[in-house]
């Protein structure tokens, strides 16, 4: 039997939980609004898409928008390129990032703080300012309109180095001291001990990279000239002009572009969530 005060406490706790659930679902609803809008707009006519106030549920579902959108640009090729470029730059980035983040997190070297500040500094320059010199560089390297030009400049990410450094730092130094006494070389320690311990974190860095690469637009547009080298965001851009946008088709194409990311996130979110947090060692 519960005492009266215990019953009261239980009721309070239940009310508290109900409140929490309410807040959570309210938050989710607000967050999902644009996504929902994107889905329904992709099934509207052009006129319905422009209606103000908006029409949330179209009277008739225009699935043919997806076919129309798909045929507006060579999306088959674009999807292949997006996958190829995103995977390649992610793999490359993970490699360079592990090395650099390890150096910053666990090694003593000359000019470390200054170099880290400079690295962070590279994120502070408006990307637009770097485009023209980089175009000239790629021209000289002969990488214009080639996969090299889409991948190699992007296999380093300061964001990734910073994030991974935060994780690597949490790995106790005692581990390295012990390994060193056992005669373990540093590179072996990194790849055999640190990397497996930080797998989820590395995975996280990779996912952010994949996302960034998947959505890259300005760079791809500038550095390519032929349809066979371009990626999905270029296809999305063709639905807009200076006068207006074919929103119903743009949203259909956007849904198609987001689905792979969503699938990736859904099936890997456990890894991803842990990845951001795990410090490797408990």
């Amino acid at each position: 039997m519960l005492t009266r005060s215990e019953a009261g406490q239980l009721a309070r706790q239940r009310a508290y939980r109900v409140l929490l659930y309410f807040l959570m679902f309210l938050g989710c609803a607000i967050m999902l609004l644009p996504f929902f809008w994107m889905l329904t707009t992709s099934l509207k006519t052009e006129a319905q898409a422009m209606r103000m106030p908006p029409m949330w549920i179209p009277s008739k579902l225009h699935w043919e928008n997806y076919i129309l959108a798909w045929n507006r640009a060579p999306f088959g090729r674009y999807f292949f390129n997006s996958f190829f470029v995103s995977i390649a730059s992610t793999v490359g980035e993970v490699f360079t990032t592990i090395l650099a983040a390890y150096a910053f997190a666990k090694m003593r070297f000359f000019g470390k703080n200054a170099l880290f500040a400079i690295l962070l500094g590279t994120m502070m320059i408006p990307g637009e300012m770097l485009l023209i010199p980089n175009y000239v560089t790629l021209t000289r390297l002969g990488w214009l309109d080639r996969y090299e030009g889409l991948i190699i400049p992007w296999i380093v990410s300061v964001f990734g180095i910073f994030l991974l450094r935060q994780f690597f730092r949490a790995i106790p130094d005692e581990l390295w001291d012990a390994a060193r006494i056992d005669g373990c070389r540093r590179s072996r320690f990194l790849w055999r001990i640190v990397v497996p311990l930080s797998k989820p974190a590395i995975f996280t860095v990779g996912l952010f990279k994949f996302l960034g690469s998947w959505n890259a637009y300005q760079w791809v547009l500038l550095m390519t000239n032929s349809e066979k080298m371009r990626t999905i965001p270029v296809g999305l851009a063709t639905f807009s002009s200076d006068i207006g946008t074919a929103y119903h088709l743009l949203m259909a194409a956007s849904v198609m572009a987001i689905v792979p990311i969503l699938v990736l996130f859904f099936f890997t979110q456990k890894q991803f969530i842990q990845g951001i947090a795990r410090t490797g060692i408990k």
Partner: protein, 337 residues
């Protein structure tokens, strides 16, 4: 002393004399390196590790950055002649009232967006950390707000802000029925007083989910033993959150703070897409908008590449100074578990 208390405890300050004696070595690291040859060897290895990253960054970031710096000293045309003008481009910018306005708008945007987003993200992450059901669904929802195309986001918000049919003014009109309130419909996107704030709300909304996911992950990683220890001390609920969760979240908080500080200073797309320009009376023109205007990329302005480069250098300087300041201030407070 229990773990929770230990987390909060400040490192004891060493005597001033001792710290002063170290100062020459700190100012001149070569001295300490000279005394310790293994440090040189370790430096060599470290730079080997950094080589791939630095090589790519040198070609595609450092080099173009320095060329932007060089360009800022010239009256740089697309074609020669490109006369050297010294600091004239900087002079122009510092004498341009629209630069100062853009700087003010940007600082205002950063000062509101960064703390509010971070604060809300902590609340959201804490909520999602309560061990509720449907957590995967909630996480995916918040992630979706981050990956939804900005065009879709801007469309939805344009409707929410619409003065005649928008959701926000609808709620205001409901409040207006209360006897003690006098509210009028607000032209959110078309009133110089509100346009920048409208962008701020959109930005907060856009990034809160992304930040919350990073913070949530940090929270889920905090070991139960810390909470158990706190409980022994009689700390639960809010006090456990304040004395255990927040301190042990500092690596993630630090990371998110720096990243969003840098990102917010560069705000442009949100402004341009939501307001289709720089807003009424240029009231939401930010520094990056100003830079793109100088380079002729928005609103069909004349291309002044030297001035645009100079403005970029100034922006870089401002963010860099703030970040370094920020890092030195908070670095001591970050706890790596």
């Amino acid at each position: 002393m229990n773990d929770a208390a230990r987390v909060r405890e400040k490192k004891p300050r060493r005597p001033l004399g001792e710290r002063l004696r170290e100062l020459p070595a700190r100012l001149n690291p070569v001295a300490s390196y000279r005394r310790n040859p293994t440090l040189w060897k370790e430096s060599g290895t470290a730079y080997l590790y950094l080589l791939p990253a630095l090589a790519v960054l040198s070609v595609f970031v450092f080099y173009p950055f320095f060329s932007a710096f060089r360009i800022s000293l010239f009256k740089w045309g697309l074609l020669p002649p490109r006369p050297y003008v010294g600091l004239a481009n900087y002079q122009y910018i510092f004498h341009d009232k629209y630069f100062w306005r853009a700087l003010w708008h940007t600082l205002y945007y950063v000062a509101v967006t960064v703390p509010v987003t971070l604060f809300l993200a902590i609340l959201v992450a804490s909520l999602l950390n309560k061990g509720l059901k449907f957590l995967s669904f909630a996480r995916t929802s918040f992630f979706l707000s981050y990956i939804s195309p900005i065009v879709a986001i801007a469309m939805v918000w344009r409707w929410m802000y619409n003065a005649d049919y928008g959701l926000i003014n609808y709620f205001l009109s409901l409040l207006d029925r209360l006897p003690f309130l006098e509210l009028n419909a607000i032209q959110w996107l078309n009133d110089p007083k509100y346009a920048l704030n409208a962008v701020i709300v959109l930005s907060i909304w856009h990034f809160v989910g992304y930040q919350a996911i990073i913070l949530l992950a940090g929270m889920q990683n905090i070991e139960q033993q810390y909470y158990d220890a706190a409980k022994v001390d009689g700390a639960s609920g809010f006090r456990a959150w304040w004395h255990v969760t927040i301190p042990l979240l500092t690596p993630q908080l630090f990371f998110v703070f720096i990243i969003s500080l840098i990102g917010s200073f560069k705000v442009f797309t949100e402004v341009n897409i939501l307001l289709s320009g720089s807003g009424p009376l240029r009231s939401a023109e930010t520094i990056v908008y100003y830079i793109l205007r100088l380079s002729g990329r928005v609103d069909g302005g004349t291309q002044h590449l030297g001035r645009a480069a100079a403005a970029s250098v100034v922006l870089f300087g401002i963010i860099f100074a703030l970040t370094v300041f920020q890092m030195t201030v908070t670095q001591r407070k970050v706890h790596y578990q």
